[in-house]
Symmetry: none
Subunit: 237 residues, 2 copies
Amino acid sequence: MAKHILVVDDDALMRRSISFKLEQSGYRASTAVSAEDALALARRDRPDLILLDIGLPGMDGMEALRHFQNEIENVPVIFVSARRRELDTILGLELGADDYITKPFNPDVLLAHVKAVLRRTAAPAPEPGERPLPITVGDLIIDPAAHTVHVAGQQLDLPAKEFAVLYTLAQEAGYVVAMDDLLNRVWGAEFLGEPQVVYVHVRWLREKIEEDPQKPQRLLTVRGVGYKLVPHEVSKE
Amino acid sequence: MAKHILVVDDDALMRRSISFKLEQSGYRASTAVSAEDALALARRDRPDLILLDIGLPGMDGMEALRHFQNEIENVPVIFVSARRRELDTILGLELGADDYITKPFNPDVLLAHVKAVLRRTAAPAPEPGERPLPITVGDLIIDPAAHTVHVAGQQLDLPAKEFAVLYTLAQEAGYVVAMDDLLNRVWGAEFLGEPQVVYVHVRWLREKIEEDPQKPQRLLTVRGVGYKLVPHEVSKE
DNA sequence: AAAATCGCTCAGAATCTTTTCAGGATGGGA
DNA sequence: TCCCATCCTGAAAAGATTCTGAGCGATTTT
């Protein structure tokens, strides 16, 4: 069964080209010019995914998002932000969008996001209000909900970025996370700065979670590839 | 190896200064005066990124963009627009390019955008379920996701190139991989160096995975052809 | 206001990898 | 057996990557 995707954008050309691309890829696309229209449409014919432009006249994106999530059960929403505006994207994600993408974007990239979100939301029905679970890696416990980290029993306070790095690595515990991946996931795809930031944050992290930061046991670098977080049990005597 | 960037602009000075900056930063740049030329060139030598001027005579930017995206698989494109004015006209069609930048621009800013686009298009988020699986060959276990190798229970850390060689051989375990194949798959088709590098890496590898590097049991050379990786169970006493 | 924190950049140093080089071994066909 | 392309070896050069310490704004805390 073809997934139904609702495209909400006030720009006609945009609507047309997005829905063209989607249909070409086997989805069923419907379009709406405004959030109001979109809501009406969605109530009649529940979409599996909504592509929502933020810069809508009338009801704005944020508000629309709230309505969608109240009225339509469990609909993933991808924000499409009109300009490079970090604020939008961050706010959108905190408000509950499942993903975002900023214009201009490559149609293939859009498609990739659509697929990813559909896959992610399809499998494990995420209970609303369910908190992300803490991740344990050896004697490390990283709790994203509480934003806390425990190392060998001790609680740690980490700045936001450091936490994000650690959490990202923890999600792939045991596996290497490539430098680029790390940058994309922690700093976002729009990040224009130097990749060296990673070194610095890793260093600070190590100063906090490693016994001997010079000889990391938990947060290892895989030269030429990236970093990985591995379990480390305290050696017992 | 060095990423290939295709610069399309009808202004010679522009072409030269952009490609100079790119090459100076370690990229391989080629240039084209027109969209037609660019297409021809791109078909012969697939670029990793295209910097496309919008205000081209002849085939215009949008049309060129469409051609590129149809004909060249998955090529990210950055629009370079001559004026704010022009940009507005395409902002209506924000679908298509991966990024844009307006003239005049600071070369460093251009570079930052190039890097960012390459980064975000390079790494396809490694979905947890889609990690490459470890390969077992005798008492060797090669796990690309963790970037680890186990020989008879012992964990090994291998540098990137060595790992790549081993992994490539492991993928064809039991069969010979020709020298040329190995070079292509590990070093890429555009490798200009001496094929001797392979000997050296094989040697490093043998020193790590063979009990007696002089008498290889796992990584065998097939004279005149290449190398092969074969299972080797430790003889038990 | 001063002080502390955070995120980032920078440049030089330290480290590790990769390649090259030159000579020596080796093995298989003539 | 002899020869020669093919491989191997050790060492050194060349190249990349990562680590460090320091410093700078911006923001928040005191």
